[in-house]
């Protein structure tokens, strides 16, 4: 299963998509999140392929309607289709997105092996977004949403969300 294909997004649609925020993590655009797999304009109709992060993510429907609204504001009609395969992975998140996420207070996903070690509590690898210490521990495998785990920093004592690796 290939998960690394570059999405096909037409240049003139990028700025509009950049203006659409993830409803759960508003500092990220839908492009940062990597959920847009295709955006092409064909005969006045913008066709978007959206890959949901998690099957039951309540933000998916909202993203689809926000995308349509953003294009409508620019006088464009848009259609959003959900695509499940290949399945979304945290690899599709942009580097810029991961940085913004950390600045927002959510620890960005680690690489799969490191992620596993951290979630099993074998190694302290997740960096506290408040003070930068990796002296942190897992509180719960599921955080405020399915995509996040709850951690606590043993240096500054602050609890924080860690965006789990999905691959």
């Amino acid at each position: 299963m290939t998960t690394t294909e570059k999405p096909n997004i037409q240049e003139h649609l990028v700025s509009i998509l950049e203006s659409v925020a993830d409803p759960e993590i508003p500092v990220l655009s839908v492009l940062d999140l990597g959920v847009i797999r295709e955006a092409v304009e064909v005969e006045g109709m913008v066709q978007i392929k959206l890959s949901p992060t998690y099957s039951g993510c309540p933000a998916t429907d909202m993203m689809a309607s926000d995308i349509k609204a953003a294009f409508a504001q620019k006088g464009k009609k848009a259609r959003v289709d959900l695509v499940l395969a290949p399945a979304w992975t945290t690899d599709w998140m942009s580097e810029k997105g991961k940085q913004k996420m950390e600045a927002y207070g959510i620890a960005p996903p680690l690489e799969p092996l490191a992620d596993k070690e951290a979630l099993l509590g074998n190694q302290k690898l997740v960096k506290c977004p408040q003070c930068g210490s990796t002296n942190t521990h897992l509180v719960s495998q599921f955080g405020a949403t399915a995509c996040k785990a709850l951690f606590q920093c043993d240096n500054c004592q602050e609890p924080f969300d860690y965006f789990k690796c999905l691959k």
Partner: protein, 251 residues
Amino acid sequence: MDSKQRSNYVTSIADNHLILGQRLGELCGHGPNLETDIALTNIALDLFGQTRSYYQYAAQLDDAFASEDAVAFLRKEHEYHNVLLVEQPNTHFGFVIGRQFLFDAYHLLLLEQLQYSADATLAAIAQKAIKEVRYHQRFSSDWLKRLGDGTEKSRKKMQEAIDALWRYTDELFEMTPIDQLAVDAGIGVDLHALRPMYYQKISEVLEEATLVLPETNYFQKGGKQGRHTEHMGYLLADLQYMQRTYPNMDW
């Protein structure tokens, strides 16, 4: 296999998720503590998301269904083909974890095969779901071990739940005529082949949890034929209430 039969196959997979998701959803705001409450409802949400994908596809395949909502909310009890395991009540936390553990091990094995289905839509749903279910299995196995290898009281309650739920495990591997048709068509999973791997996996984790593998040859079945335990009617009354009271309501 015609498209109506294919729709039946897809629905029978999804019914397990819908009913288990509903059971877990009952715990929203009632979990033993905040972390487990959130985890269980997140698992419910994953299951509902997967259910939606399956039902949307089932509704496309069979025009007898007006929509995914009609599939989910407007069938009668005997038209749901979920296994008996998933409809069992949240008797206590040991039952919640036991039921989840016994289902997750099956679910993961099923998806590992279904992701190679000749049906591209089913394969895509499975590829997506498998990543989520790995987290579910980790959660339920961890708790099983924590409770089993915990205090005397937690061990006793965990064993009680496993003993009570064990009789529903064999049904997971029962092949219905629709299952067989799906296997013959290359789109379905041969459940008989999963059985030995399942009991192997389960017994390993039970041992780690210092729990005793139940020894019984009595297994209860019937869910796949629509013959449910007495708990199912109450569950559906809750699940279907809004659609029955306000037909065609939408969010």
